[in-house]
């Protein structure tokens, strides 16, 4: 009797945990479903081609223009700038922490990187708004300091911790025997780093960069506070113009639209585009990382 009870308990718990595990898939599917359902509502009244190739985002009743391109441009320009800044700084710092810093220094630097990662995006945005924006405005003599450039800098700060900690992990996990082989052949430390260590950690470092990109594309508050939010494709001077990202558009406009209007559905549609972008990016990072693990 007791044994049966125990068996029953075991089976119930096993089932419960299974449901919990499946629950995460369910949540992801629900997110997909609701984004797609609202996207479908939008595409019922708005031609998909006009959405994908439209160069104007003017959501007011009179204009009714929901062109994705200016928002995509804003997202890509700020992210691209962030990558240009964060990738070299991030990788160089990761190599420093993994290869050069003594154990004591590393013990300080690693939590410092975590601390940087922990700064809430709204605080970073605030910092950018009160310190960076006025500085750049006077430095470049602009009408507004809220530009793609300030957005890129803030995004770079947000992407840095991801890039540093993931690449540092990859670099640290390169087997010592590889490096010793290089030293034994008479290479100095730097030659060993760039001919042996970095190539061996390359897939991990690439994954770090891709994850950093994902973080930058999906960021909302910080970007919205420092980029000026002009939904115009900045053909001339892309970095010194105001831009508006996909994320900022959703955050700024969702509060003002009535549920069930075309504009409301349009915001879900750009949300779906953003979701798709990050899923692709995370998929690539995942594949690269798995290759790295097999490589070991």
């Amino acid at each position: 009797m007791k044994r049966n009870m125990r068996n029953f308990n075991e089976k119930t718990m096993k089932f419960l945990f299974f449901i919990g595990g499946i629950g995460t898939i369910l949540i992801l599917l629900l997110i997909c479903f609701f984004l797609l359902a609202e996207t479908a509502n939008f595409l019922k009244t708005y031609p998909i081609w006009d959405f994908l190739t439209g160069t104007e985002w003017k959501p007011d009743e009179a204009s009714r223009k929901f062109g994705l391109l200016p928002l995509l441009a804003g997202t890509f320009i700020t992210t691209f700038g962030a990558v240009l800044l964060a990738v070299p700084i991030g990788i160089l710092s990761a190599v420093y922490i993994a290869e050069l810093a003594g154990p004591k220094t590393a013990e300080i630097l690693k939590p410092a990187v975590e601390l940087l990662a922990g700064i809430p995006s709204v605080v970073l945005g605030f910092f950018g708004l009160v310190l960076l924006v006025p500085t750049f405005q006077s430095a470049f003599d602009l009408t507004t300091g809220q530009t793609a450039l300030t957005g890129s800098i803030i995004l770079a700060i947000m992407a840095l911790p991801t890039i540093i900690s993931v690449s540092e992990d990859a670099i640290s996990s390169v087997p010592a025997s590889l490096k010793q082989g290089s030293f034994a052949l008479g290479s100095n430390h730097w030659q060993t780093i760039y001919k042996v260590t970095i190539p061996a950690a390359l897939s991990g470092i690439s994954a770090a960069v891709i994850l950093g990109v994902g973080r930058a594309i999906g960021e909302t508050m910080a970007v919205m506070m420092v980029t000026g939010n002009m939904a115009i494709i900045p053909w001339s001077e892309p970095f010194l113009s105001s831009v508006r990202t996909i994320t900022a558009t959703i955050a700024l406009e969702m509060g003002e639209v009535a549920q069930g209007t075309e504009h409301y559905y349009a915001l879900f549609t750009i949300g779906a585009v953003l979701f798709l972008l990050t899923i692709i990016i995370n998929g690539i990072a995942d594949a690269v990382k798995r290759k790295h693990h097999r490589g070991e």
Binding site: R6, E10, M13, K14, F17, G20, G21, T24, I25, I27, L30, I31, F34, L35, A37, P88, I89, G90, L92, S93, Y96, L100, L109, A112, V113, L116, G118, I119, P120, S121, V122, V123, F126, F127, V130, L131, I157, L160, S187, H189, W190, Q191, I193, Y194, G218, M221, M225, T247, I250, A251, M254, G255, Q259, F268, G271, L274, F275, I279, N282, D286
Partner: protein, 294 residues
């Protein structure tokens, strides 16, 4: 021949000097950025940080007074979000590490967790709005925000719990099973207690995350101004993160209320950093003990 080698060495050593110099500069830049941000906010925020600031409601169209309602709102939000995410996350993590056998289901669940972790916070906000508010019909409130935030921190909880469970030596499980104790009892009495501190670290990290996130609550229940503390979970609420955004971009007098803005930013940073520090301390503590780490 010999001089040639020396020249080569010299050249290589010069390259090394340059490369290492660049590494040091990069690291210094990272540290300086961190210090600059923290320094700016601490120095300019400290004067605002008085007892009254923490215990008074915003007054006079939020140009005076404190941030009590935001502080309470954020704390309630964090507690509710945790009570959604912690049980769910632990169950999912136990499934992944203890029950799931290698195969498609496990891979799918892990993929799902990865994708959830990479999903932008604003997308969670959209989902919360479409599902909890529009579909289920809940009012935009503390409850809908907490549910949304709970989903956002779920992957963090799952991953850290998984790590903690994986670091419990297999011998513990084997020993328990050898005594004739069933799997669930082993998990409950042996594995979970041994993984406890690691799990706690994850929970503490997600407290910081939930307190700092703005985008998801912006769409699901946080409001510009609410004259009283939230009286139920169905009431709209103010939160520190959203308050900072509002005050810095749409406030009644943005320049004049800089003190309030810096004060709010400082409170947020203190909240998040103290959580991080506790997590780092905990991790060091149990690393020394040897259990709960690899």
């Amino acid at each position: 021949m010999k001089t040639g080698k020396t020249a080569y060495r010299k050249k290589q050593d010069a390259y090394q000097k340059i490369a290492f110099g660049l590494m040091k500069i990069s690291t210094a830049v990272v540290v300086m950025v961190l210090l600059l941000i923290i320094g700016d906010i601490v120095i300019k925020g400290a004067p605002s940080l008085t007892i009254e600031f923490l215990t008074q409601m915003p007054k006079n169209q939020m140009t005076e007074g404190g941030i009590l309602s935001c502080l309470v709102g954020t704390i309630e939000l964090v507690i509710l979000a945790l009570s959604v995410a912690v049980p769910l996350g632990i169950v999912a993590a136990v499934y992944l590490t203890e029950y799931a056998s290698e195969g498609k289901v496990k891979r799918f669940v892990e993929q799902a967790v990865n994708n959830l972790a990479g999903t932008p916070s604003i997308v969670f906000g959209l989902f919360g709005m479409a599902f909890f508010v529009k579909y289920i019909g809940l009012p935009q409130s503390l409850l809908t925000s907490s549910l949304t935030m709970g989903l956002l921190i779920l992957p963090v909880i799952i991953r850290t719990t998984q790590e903690a469970l994986l670091s419990v030596p297999q011998s513990y499980r084997d020993a328990s099973m050898a005594l004739g104790i069933t799997k669930w009892e082993t998990i409950r009495h042996v594995v979970l207690p041994a993984a406890y501190s690691g799990m706690l670290t994850g929970i503490i990290i997600s407290i910081g995350r939930a307190a700092g996130e703005t985008a998801p609550i912006l769409l699901t229940g946080a409001v510009y101004f609410y004259p009283k503390l939230p009286d139920s979970v169905f009431s709209p609420f103010m939160a520190l993160s959203y308050h900072l955004y509002v005050m810095a971009t749409e406030g009644m007098n943005i320049e004049l209320t800089r003190g309030i803005q810096y004060g709010t930013a400082l409170v947020l940073i203190i909240l998040v950093f103290s959580m991080n520090l506790i997590a780092v301390g905990l991790r060091r503590h149990y690393r020394k003990k040897g259990i709960g780490s690899n």
